[in-house]
Amino acid sequence: MNNKFLKTRNVTKTFGKLKALDDVNFNLYQGKIHGLLGENGAGKSSLMNILSGIYQPDKGSIYLDGEKQKILNPDFASKLGIGMVHQEFRLIESFSIKDNLTLSKSNIYKNDFLKSFKKYSEIFALNVNENEIISNLSVGEKQKIEIMKLIFNDSRIMLLDEPTAVLTPQETSQLKNSLVTLAQEDMKTIVLITHKLKEIKEFTEIVSVLKNGKMVAKDLPTKDVTDNQLIELMMGTVKTSTVNKDNEVGKIKLNVENINYTDSVNKIKKLEDINFQIKAGEILGLAGVSGNGQVELANIISGIERVYEGKIIIDNTDVSSKGVRSRKKLNLSYIPENRLGVGLAPGVSVIDNSIVKDYFHTKLGPHLSRNKTSNYLESLVKQFSIKAPNPKAEISTLSGGNMQKLLMGRELVGDPDVIIASQPTRGLDVNAVDAIHNLLIDQRNKGSAIFLISEDLDELFKLSNRLLVIFEGKIVKSFNTVDADINDVGLAMAGVNE
């Protein structure tokens, strides 16, 4: 490989106690497409944010063309020709394409805008007028404008943070062609972050892997590494602690039949032919990188999303056309992945949040007397050892672990028949994770049918009896956790199917 164009040496970044990047050495080569792999939270976005000057590293240095750079800020980074497309778009929605593309002072195509816009529209297979307002564009089109913005701002180094997460397969392969053209004809240096091995294989020449903030492999030639090697680098050796799974299993409690769902806003098919059943006393895991349809599926089972095809049957009752309330009455509980915002209402007190599930039952209503609600909260606090000193305080004053315990506790009262637990331990510390796991196991032993949605393979292997893998809205594989190979699950999650 030719000369290193940009490199980082010993870059470290901490957020509070968390080491997001730990002594990272990373190299970029001119005119090449680089893949950056890593699980969620591995530090990929943080590294890109440091290169584009948005975060400052605590330690370490950045060299460009062999020269050590002083502290970067976004302005300086863009002068050096480093640009980034973020996971969340940063276009001005109410401005036209032209205004967005020519907004920055580092813009180089102000005078011959139309000519360049035409040229790059062709490369990106973009077919819209330059005066179109951004908010009228589809997600895929916005993505193209984001990347084009980098070109118009004269970026030599283009950092793309999970650009394909929002694209359809056709758009993805289109993006691949465009990026290859940019690298070959314009000598652009490109970094592509993705979870999908297929894209690493198809798009990139060189791949690096981050794990828990450490660069565990760098400068691997993509054509020489196997999927298995990459998965192992990405996931590491998962400690396979496991719980006893010989408990008694009863009759079918949840039956999900032929679910198909298309997002009504951008008309993208989010779920395709989903089928599964869960029995009493069973935990069914759903593995998958987030954004592959998990939230949509959980919302459909819990009754929040009402427009879909297929059937949801709880305890032999078809609830497909029923709302949240009737499903709750059949004793279904839902622990949503978005704790604060969906499961708990921000800006509302601890005590109000503690009765969200049961407030309309006679034991609390019709008058929500102080006494009754206080007693209710008190019994939750005791049973689930929640630290919530002031019931009237806003819910967001609790720690993450205590919020989750309150949410779990509230949903587990009354021994639900069916529990949907979505990313129940994400972002929690070890003790809180153990506590949450024990709650789920207890509930399983009491005969609940549990649907556990998680990205954490360790958690899924530890708790679940069976495992499904979801990828791009489809169940691509199912495993029996007792004899499954963790690498096979990882491969399926990354979209590799042999």
Partner: protein, 352 residues
């Protein structure tokens, strides 16, 4: 780096709203004193005179409480609507609409039993206020149109309507050049409890209790709080957030409409542009100072009623009545600033 940032306090003292009101009121008195000193008036004498003339006798006390009644009723309505985290700037218009509804029913129907007729008229006032906020409520829940703008705009429409009515179809020839509708008959005047104190104040107490119950202890109030906190949580809990917002707005509008009805039946006895002297706007101040708490609105509303009466009588010693307005507005300003420091603290910023 030596930067400071504001961080939200974890635990806020429950009485913080009360303390900030007290401190805000003190600040307001100081500002008022400075203005009085500039005018060469003795602040202490002026304030004690205001105090004496507003609550010093049964008569002045009842005037103060009568004055407080529309402030409190409209303030309660604002507080109910704010449970879903929406702002009603349209109480002024709703007050006028309540009075218009009373007159409309009064001139078109007659009931022989005056007690039931008064009752019917008060219900009409409530419905009038609710009707007045109907369009802002519909546009809010259907299209997400900002209710602050729409409720504010309805004020201008309703006041325009009032001017039209009292100059046109409802103009009382007997009122000579003053544009006003004819007086309602004595049989529908709200009676007094004692002194000049109108039964309107009793209605006010009843509605304070009702609003307190609705906001804090009813299932509906709970659902409004959740809907106001997060629409997604409401949907998750099976609560129809839009429906709660809609009904909260109608009920809140009704409270302000009732204020207009009570004002007409107990004080002005006829529709004119003088039905409200900015009660609907002062009510926003009252509601905001108390952090939208009904009992607080009752107390602060009573104080503000007294301030208005006190302010209007000190004209006799050559002090402008605006001193009362200045104190009311400065109280809000001071209270909000103090409340800010209860809610936030300055912290040295760690880098990152």
């Amino acid at each position: 780096m030596n930067k400071y940032i504001l961080t939200k306090r974890q635990v806020v003292n429950e009485l913080s709203t009360f303390y900030s009101f007290l401190l805000g009121f003190l600040i307001a008195l100081m500002i008022g004193s400075i203005i009085l000193l500039i005018q060469d008036k003795n602040p202490f004498d002026t304030f004690s005179l205001m105090f004496k003339l507003s609550i010093g006798s049964v008569n002045s006390l009842s005037s103060s409480l009568n004055k407080a009644t529309p402030l409190i009723l409209a303030g309660l309505g604002i507080a109910i609507i704010n449970t879903v985290k929406l702002w009603n700037i349209g109480a002024e218009g709703q007050i006028f609409m309540g009075a218009i509804a009373v007159n409309l029913i009064y001139i078109n129907f007659q009931l022989t039993n005056s007690t039931s007729f008064i009752f019917v008229l008060l219900v009409s006032a409530f419905i009038g206020g609710a009707f007045c906020i109907l369009i802002p409520a519909i546009t809010k829940v259907l299209f997400g149109v900002n209710e602050i703008i729409t409720t504010l705009l309805t004020n201008y429409i309703v006041i325009g309507l009032t001017i039209y009515l009292v100059n046109g179809p409802w103009k009382d020839p007997g009122s000579l050049n003053f544009p006003a509708a004819a007086y309602v008959g004595k049989e529908v005047y709200l009676p007094t409890i004692f002194g000049k104190l109108s039964y309107g104040f009793l209605i006010c107490i009843l509605f304070t209790v009702f609003a307190h119950y609705l906001k804090n202890s009813s299932v509906f109030g709970y659902e409004m709080r959740i809907a106001g906190g997060s629409e997604m949580t409401a949907i998750y809990a099976g609560i129809n957030a839009k429906q709660k917002a809609f009904f909260a707005m109608l009920i809140g509008g009704g409270f302000a409409g009732l204020a207009g009805g009570v004002e007409l039946l107990s004080q002005t006895h006829r529709v004119s542009t003088g039905i409200s002297q900015g009660f609907g706007y002062t009510a926003i101040i009252v509601a905001a100072i108390t952090g939208m708490r009904p009992i607080g609105i009752f107390l602060v509303g009573s104080l503000f009623g007294a301030l208005s009466i006190g302010g209007s009588v000190i004209q006799t010693i050559g002090v402008s009545t605006y001193i009362a307005d200045i104190i009311q507005a400065s109280t809000l300003f001071g209270a909000l600033v103090i409340q800010f420091f209860f809610n936030y603290k300055l912290k040295r910023a760690d880098d990152g």
